[in-house]
Subunit: 141 residues, 2 copies
């Protein structure tokens, strides 16, 4: 079965709003409905937008498809560009941020059976904000 | 953790030959070593080259990253281009073929625990070769 990409979306994929965040659209390409143990999603992040700042037990594998931005993983900030891969270990704070003027498209793979994300505590956020570069880039929602 | 793509390969990824097929290189980006239940690989297929014509119980999810080619799934042949997704159900004959003049780069996700591939039987191959278009495109190795 083929899910054709038409330049904007995947025909036949499931498209979702993302946690009330208007800068992000989520597509679920393949997952539980196909009987898979993993789910393959794409997040399209508008210029300057970001995914949630969060952590959870389940791991993330991300591959950048298009655009440039930053990935926060734990207390490290990485510049990301097409085909860079990012691994987020369990219970690790993370966020993906699109550069200004760049729409960022990332593929993200997770287990179908997974826990819900947690927001970071105030202490965790304050700790992150001590770093000047992180402070400039991340979005505390 | 970031696996940086340097235009040709991923620094820190594991790079493999592919079943004695000189037209294909396999990279394992993330998998068992990270404690994941799924494995994320990239296959780079030289112009005119192809992956094995095979089937197995485990499912494949494929996303085209670069280049154009064809995907055989069961008895259907699909034209594929960047960001098209392909799902291969259990025990379904399949092959990915790069067009002439096009290096095809595909991401492929599978379970870490999976069965080994089977070659197709002679009868299955003869059945496939009845279709003129399939006959022109697939590579019977």
């Amino acid at each position: 079965m083929k899910l054709e990409f038409n330049g904007e979306s995947w025909e036949g994929s499931r498209k979702y709003e993302y946690k009330g965040n208007k800068d992000v659209i989520k597509f679920v390409l393949f997952g539980k409905e196909e009987g898979l143990n993993f789910e393959v999603r794409v997040f399209v992040i508008e210029p300057g937008g970001a995914t949630s700042l969060e952590k959870h037990q389940h791991m993330h594998v991300v591959l950048v498809l298009e655009g440039k931005g930053s990935a926060l993983v734990d207390k490290k900030l990485y510049d990301i560009k097409p085909f860079d891969g990012i691994f987020v270990p369990p219970m690790t704070p993370h966020q993906f941020i699109a550069n200004k003027g760049e729409r960022l498209k990332i593929l993200c793979i997770v287990d179908v059976d997974r826990d819900k994300p947690h927001k970071l505590s105030e202490d965790e956020i304050l700790e992150l904000l001590k770093d000047e570069r992180i402070r400039e880039v991340i979005k505390v929602q």
